[in-house]
């Protein structure tokens, strides 16, 4: 058996630039996403400072519109989704008992595309101003803007979006093809299920956005006329395309949070998930319905009562599977032994907060009443309740929960609790009053409001809350810094976990499981624990392990896209051509260089097992 042993061990920065290991890519996603999360958060605090008092003049006009656009765009595309991808990368293959994702190379491409897209978008701040047409970039506001802000928006997100699409396909294939023996679909942990459905949504929602961005780019760069009424275009095309993507996007974001919460609540209640199959069904149903409701973002657009009514009822229907989930979580805790670790605190905070966001969602689904809510602060309050109170609390929970697996250290629990309470109280202070602001007549996306409209008090409270949320985030940063400077301090299973990711030693070996485990039930590790084994039963003898080689090509390919992005933004066809040329060259190199990876020999694996490293 001749093998090509062309494996080079790289170290330091080069290792991170060339890695195709899903665990490292997960960390990269988490770091980059966390960085953008801080930027987006800073933008939010600046906006709240401007709105703290009426008639204030700190960030006005266009600058404020840039802040609001970049806040939304950054948080959704560059913070929330990458952090989700970080957890999916780090955890899903482990939960499946797989060696890696299906396409390690494509995985790296996905990350670097996202990274360079995000950097490109944020460079707009220094190169003539950020985009100012809102994260929705409605035409014609986005097409008539003369500066390059929207060009950065289109190109940056197009590049990042391509990476996301690649990631979505990757996880679908991983979950379908690479489950360990015995890991049937109905034994998969809920987080993996959520990742599966989310990846499906990405696969079918992002192409619409890709086209939308192409149309917008053609309109701006090549003077196309899709959205120009004077030339026969129609502005509603953009709105439809954007929301055909945009609503599934909301579920792309929230489903993984549902998954995390399901894992955390089950683990820290020491009980299996109540109504597992109903939970799975609800997840799939929410994903499906996610494609059927986008018009509820467009009730005031004038699509007529028939369309509005149909989409209203479809929207309400989503409340049913979501409600099933809420009750199943509560009954998972029922009769359990609840331990309030920080991860669990975030999960416990998630449930009522998300319910509040959910009920305002049902209220918004009533078109005739939505004419009052739409584009007011009520909507702002609603979607922050679901996205911050839902998704972000879920991601914090996941961070505290999986931190030991990803970084081999436990985060400090005392600081963690400070983090939770500051963030949680700050969150409600910020967003609860905003429901009232909206109902009292304050439109969203305004940079100021006049005094004497009874809007002052609630706005002030809201800003105080935002500062508290910022403080909570700073506590998290301190916690991370402290943990980073401490030694490895964790056992392999600090939370008495139930799923496969806790069945490996710390740090996780590069090949994950030395021997692919045999899965004998839902909560695979728990099954073994109660059977008295404490460890997974292997499904195969110790043998050679095939591993993919690292490669710098994903980085270079994405760099090429980044360069071509600049070319298109400044209509410099040489630069655009050079960038795309670089992309083609890397693709060409990838296809002509044979790379069959390398093998870890049986003896090495055996030595690892003996030494407790595998």
């Amino acid at each position: 058996m001749a093998t090509h042993e062309s494996h080079k061990k790289r170290s330091g920065l080069m290792d991170w630039l060339t890695t195709v290991d899903h665990k490292k890519i997960g960390i990269l996603y988490l770091l980059a996403g966390g960085f953008f999360f801080l930027i987006g958060g800073l933008e939010a605090v600046l906006m709240r400072i401007q709105l703290m008092e009426p008639d204030s003049k700190i960030f006005t006009g266009e600058l404020y519109n840039q802040l609001l656009t970049m806040h939304g765009t950054t948080m959704i595309f560059l913070a929330a989704m990458p952090i989700i991808f970080g957890f999916m990368n780090a955890i899903v293959p482990l939960q499946l008992g797989a060696r890696d994702v299906a396409f390690p190379y494509v995985n790296a491409v996905g990350f670097w595309l996202f990274f360079f897209g995000g950097v490109l978008l944020n460079l707009s701040w220094f190169l003539g101003g950020a985009p100012e047409a809102g994260w929705t970039a409605y035409a014609p506001l986005s097409t008539v803007a003369e500066d390059t802000g929207v060009d950065f928006y289109v190109l940056g997100l197009q590049i990042a979006g391509a990476g996301t699409l690649a990631g979505g396909i990757n996880f679908l294939v991983t979950i379908i093809n690479m489950r360990a023996p015995g890991m049937t679909f109905m034994r998969m942990p809920l987080f993996t299920w959520a990742s599966f459905v989310t990846s499906g949504l990405i696969l079918f929602a992002f192409p619409a956005l890709t086209v939308g961005f192409f149309l917008l780019m053609f309109e701006r760069v090549f003077d196309a006329n899709f959205f120009n009424p004077d030339m026969g275009g129609n502005i509603l095309i953009w709105e439809h395309i954007f929301w055909i993507f945009g609503h599934p996007e909301v579920y792309i974001l929230i489903l993984p949070a549902f998954g995390i919460i399901s894992e955390v609540i089950s683990t820290f209640s020491n009980k299996r998930l109540f109504g597992y199959s109903a939970m799975v069904f609800a997840t799939v149903l929410i994903g499906f319905l996610g494609f059927m409701v986008w018009v509820h973002h467009m009730f005031t657009v004038g699509l007529g009562p028939v369309a509005n009514s149909i989409f209203a009822v479809a929207t309400m229907a989503i409340a049913i599977p979501t409600g099933v989930k809420i009750f199943n979580w509560i009954f998972t805790m029922w009769g359990g032994q609840i331990r309030f670790s920080t991860a669990m605190l975030f999960a416990v905070g998630f449930v009522p907060t998300f319910v509040m966001g959910g009920v305002t969602g049902v209220m918004l689904s009533v078109p005739a009443a939505d004419y009052q809510y739409h584009d007011s602060y009520f909507v702002v309050a609603h979607f922050h309740y679901v996205i911050v109170g839902g998704l972000i609390l879920g991601l914090f929970s996941g961070l505290y929960y999986w931190y030991p697996r990803m970084f081999n250290r436990v985060l400090n629990e005392t600081l963690g609790k400070w983090n939770f309470w500051l963030f949680f109280i700050g969150f409600h202070l910020t967003f609860f009053p905003q429901h009232w602001l909206g109902l009292m007549g304050m439109p969203r996306r305004v940079y100021t409001y006049m005094s004497g409209q009874d809007l002052d008090g609630a706005n002030f409270v809201s800003t105080i809350g935002a500062i508290l949320m910022g403080a909570g985030t700073i506590v998290l940063l301190i916690n991370i810094i402290i943990s980073a400077s401490s030694k490895y301090a964790t056992t392999k299973d600090p939370w008495d976990g139930r799923t496969l990711e806790w069945a490996m030693p710390v740090p996780t070996p590069e090949y994950n499981f030395a021997q692919t485990p045999l899965v004998r039930g839902l909560d695979a590790l728990y099954v073994e624990k109660t059977a008295g084994n404490g460890d997974m039963t292997p499904a195969e003898p110790v043998g050679e392990i095939h591993m993919p080689n690292g490669s710098i090509l994903p980085f270079i390919l994405s760099l090429g896209m980044f360069i071509s992005g600049f070319g298109f933004i400044y209509s410099n066809w040489y630069v655009a051509g050079a960038g795309l040329g670089l992309v083609l060259i890397t693709m060409f190199l990838r296809s002509i260089i044979d790379d069959h990876g390398y093998h870890i020999h049986k003896e090495e694996v055996e030595a690892d097992i003996k030494g407790g490293r595998a």
Binding site: T60, N65, L68, G134, P140, L141, P229, G233, N234, I235, L236, S269, N270, K271, R272, G275, S277, A278, T300, V301, G302, P305, S309, V313, M316, A317, I320, G323, I326, N328, I330, F331, G336, Q337, I338, R339, F340, V355, V359, T360, V362, M363, V366, A368, A369, D370, Y371, Q372, H374, D375, S376, L439, G441, P443, R444, R445, V446, Y447, M450, Q453
Partner: protein, 339 residues
Amino acid sequence: MKKWLQKGRFLSLFAMLALLLMGCGDPTLSTLIPQGEVADKQFQLMLISISIMILVLVVVFVLYAFVLLKFRKKKGDNSTPKQVEGNHMLELLWTVIPILLLIILAVPTVMRTFEFSADAKPASKNELSIKVTGHQYWWEFEYPKEELITSQELVLPADTKVHVELSSADVIHSFWIPSLAGKTDTNPGDKNKNYMWFDTGSKTDVVYKGKCAELCGASHALMDFKVRVVSKEDYKNWVAGYKAADDKSSANADGQQVFEKNCLSCHAVGQNGGNTGPSLTGFGDKDRVAGILEHDKENLKKWIKDPQEVKPGNNMPKVNLSDEEIDAVSDYLLGLKLK
């Protein structure tokens, strides 16, 4: 009150909620203090949905609090909880009950959605019809039957059903008078014209606040307008006065000259002038300078001197005028009154 509200236990809850909510906000701006039929019905819908949702919240929160208190791990208790797979009865329960609640909500939802659009066609004879055009960042109001065009201030008779045709001269805006009716977008292009209707309510001599609700550029926040509801009598007089008004209605001859030389190409007064900027007929009677500033000479001068300072990104050019000219033209404009 509405028929389908009169029955049931919800009534008392409703009354309480309504009282609680109606204390909120500026009575000329808040959706919670509805002044016309449409806003009132929309407020009813809010109340129905909030009531159902509060019911849900209470059930979930009570259950949740109980679970969190009861099942926390006690020190020294290391027993393993029973691993429950699920319970079909319970799961059925929390699937069916929400469905029922949603059906209760869906019926008035669909009904009202059709009601608010059914009448949105151009008005019959005894009802008022207006055309609204959004501009960056001001509003143009045309009264087709009365054959007059105003800007920024919509004068309407009380107790009247108003039909609105909405369009935009540039980007998407959204026309919103929270106390009278929910918003509808103004879309550019003839294909996507919108129609809505609202009722002006019974109060007279009130000024309701109107807002642009769709991000439309740098001064989106400042794109306010006013809706002045007057008695039917006063409305007739206003129409007559407006139609009779001309550019001679102000006594300041110097200012008039400056105005005719520098402003008339964009702004109309009476029958004269262009229409790229807001009409200034009867400017002296208006409520705000540029839709936002207090209506006095100081502010008017400030606005003419540097429009970008007041409303960033707006289309009014900075006209090269001396301080004296600005002073004169301000006096002239403030002197423009309706007869």
